[in-house]
């Protein structure tokens, strides 16, 4: 077995040194009859070539985004990631390191976490950011719990523009913790009256912009009303590239900001691993979940970095911790921070501009198709199209023609009476030819 260095002779020598004759003697605490004698009913070891062949066959059955005109978004986005990113994250010292609990030999990880926290704070316009959460959805649920700790209230109001999966994640955790959730109904055109739902019993209001239908939302009045009632505004985004083009939530007085960071540096990966961005006003820092990296000095007075404010965390606070989270998304953070460093604000601004320009082009073209209507007043790189036929059928028909057209709203919200809506994303990867193919195929299908 290529991964196991011990030889049979080694094993015998080692057992003798330990003073037992058989390895099973070391398993003597396993209760009677529970120690397996035979290998389990699974295939035997395979060489590298054979494993690659098996998994290669499975992979080949899937339609890769890069192989077709591709317009699927709704919380995960296909972007171009520079080759440098994947090379660097596979450096052994990054890939095979652990959580930096021994800071003297983990300054590489700690410094990039510090750089990441600074980047996320700048992007969102917030005072502090943590070293990441699992993803945007779980980060949103954690933000709600954090707001409950800050306000000592237990009721969250969720906008109908919040990604339905995010709503379900918040609802699941809240139901378990006996906290109240008021989820407003799906709000396709960003016309809901969320202000009416805010009163003195509310802990937090959760609003996504761009929302799951692509609309850009004005957070400022929501923040004002929330603050007037002692509640917090949690701003959510699923497309971090949008922050290169739109007013950041921090400038609209959001108290906590949560976002999905997958778009920068990370592949689609069929849904994970991704990276949750989490930022807040600094006065709430002791209620934040997740790891924080901070600056300090070593015994020689040189600048260095450590994990800090750990008393919030489970390994110290146990049942009084701010969260049970133990990992962050280390390597996805690294991919994010390298890509963002390569972009810089000049590159990010340009990237956002191209995304928006492409989306505008596509929206204009789709508006010309009979039986298709773009519903959004404002959008960044994603918008909702109302179709003359059920969107799921249209998406399947287009897939059969080799075009992955978007996300039918019924996939996210079955039974909500929104079966004719398709959410369409358009990033820098799409060419004029892709768009032309989409438009032509859609015209045929409708």
């Amino acid at each position: 077995m290529r991964y196991l260095p011990l030889t049979e002779t080694d094993r015998e020598d080692m057992l003798a040194r330990i003073g037992v004759t058989d390895v099973d003697a070391l398993f003597s605490d396993v209760p009677n009859g529970k120690l397996l004698k035979e290998p389990l009913d699974l295939p035997r070891a395979k060489g590298e070539l054979e494993v690659e062949r098996i998994l290669g066959r499975m992979s080949a059955k899937n339609t890769a985004a890069g192989s077709v005109p591709f317009f699927v978004g709704a919380g995960a986005y296909k972007h171009h990631v520079p080759a440098t990113v994947d090379h660097l994250i596979q450096r052994s010292e990054f890939l095979t390191s652990y959580t930096p609990y021994q800071p003297e030999i983990a300054q590489g990880t700690l410094q990039y976490l510090f750089e990441f926290q600074t980047q996320v704070a700048a992007l969102t316009g917030m005072e502090v950011a943590n070293a990441s959460m699992y993803d945007g959805s779980t980060g949103t649920a954690e933000a709600v719990l954090m707001a409950h700790r800050v306000t000592k209230r237990r009721k969250a109001v969720l906008s109908g523009g919040l990604h339905p999966h995010y709503i379900q994640v918040v609802e699941t955790l809240s139901e378990m913790a006996n906290d109240e959730v008021v989820a407003l109904k799906p709000d396709v055109r960003a016309t809901e009256d969320i202000l009416a739902a805010i009163d003195d019993s509310v802990s937090c209001v959760v609003v996504q912009s761009p929302d799951v239908f692509g609309n850009l939302r004005d957070l400022k009045p929501i923040a004002e009303k929330a603050h007037a009632h002692g509640a917090l505004l949690i701003a959510v985004f699923t497309e971090v590239v949008s922050l290169g083009a739109v007013v950041p939530p921090g400038a609209q007085d959001a108290d906590i900001v949560v976002g999905e960071g997958q778009s920068i540096g990370n592949a689609l990966n069929f849904g994970g691993p991704y990276v949750g961005l989490f930022a807040a006003k600094s006065k709430y820092i002791r209620q934040m979940p997740g790891r924080l990296c901070g600056e300090t000095v070593d015994a020689d007075g040189r600048r260095g970095f450590v994990l800090t404010l750990s008393t919030r965390e489970q390994h110290i606070r146990r049942d009084k911790a701010t969260s049970n989270i133990c990992t962050n998304s280390g390597l996805c953070v690294l991919a994010f921070t390298i890509h963002m460093t390569l972009l810089g604000q000049a590159g990010l601004t340009r990237l956002a501009e191209v995304n928006h320009a492409n989306a505008v082009k596509l929206a204009d073209a789709l508006s010309g198709v009979k039986g298709a209507e773009v519903l959004n007043e404002s959008f960044f790189n994603e918008f909702t199209v109302k179709l003359a036929k059920p969107a799921a059928e249209v998406a399947e028909a287009l897939a059969a023609k080799g075009i992955l057209a978007g996300v039918p709203v019924s996939r996210l919200l079955p039974g909500a009476g929104l079966d004719d809506l398709l959410v369409v994303a358009n990033t820098e990867v799409n060419t004029d030819e892709d768009r032309a193919a989409f438009v032509a195929a859609l015209a045929e299908v409708l």
């Binding site: 750990s310 008393t311 110290i316 606070r317």
Partner: protein, 124 residues
């Protein structure tokens, strides 16, 4: 004349009239290590004997400070917010946490005297 009493959780309470000043003992600060943060209650809060009065944090530990007796918080040492290290430097003096207006002086009888507490620490 001030008198100081102790708990087995290493809080002290120094009694002056009907008010007690609560903090942690020198032994406790030594066990905790460098104190980096102190969370204090609000003035006016009613504390039950044995209930959480404050939280003291070092780099690697967080501990509750329990009220040695019941009573109302009449003052908190807000200087600890900016200078938590005071708890290490002068636990019995400037490093106090809260002042409590005693609800029931009889509760003091259940606490340890200075000598009893020192004997107790020796057993640890």
């Amino acid at each position: 004349m001030a008198e100081t009493r102790y708990t087995k959780d290493h809080e002290y309470i120094r009694i002056e009239g009907d008010t007690g000043t609560v903090g942690i003992t020198d032994y406790a600060q030594g066990q905790l290590g460098d104190v980096v943060f102190v969370e204090l209650p609000t003035v006016g809060k009613a504390l039950a004997k044995g209930g959480e009065a404050a939280v003291v944090e070092s780099v690697k530990a967080a501990s509750e400070v329990y009220a040695p007796v019941s009573g109302e918080v009449v003052a908190v040492n807000s200087e600890l917010e900016a200078a938590p290290g005071t708890v290490n430097e002068d636990p019995a003096g400037k490093g106090w946490f809260v002042k409590i207006k005693l609800a029931n002086t009889g509760e003091l009888d259940g606490l340890l005297s200075e000598a009893e507490y020192q004997d107790y620490v020796k057993t640890l």
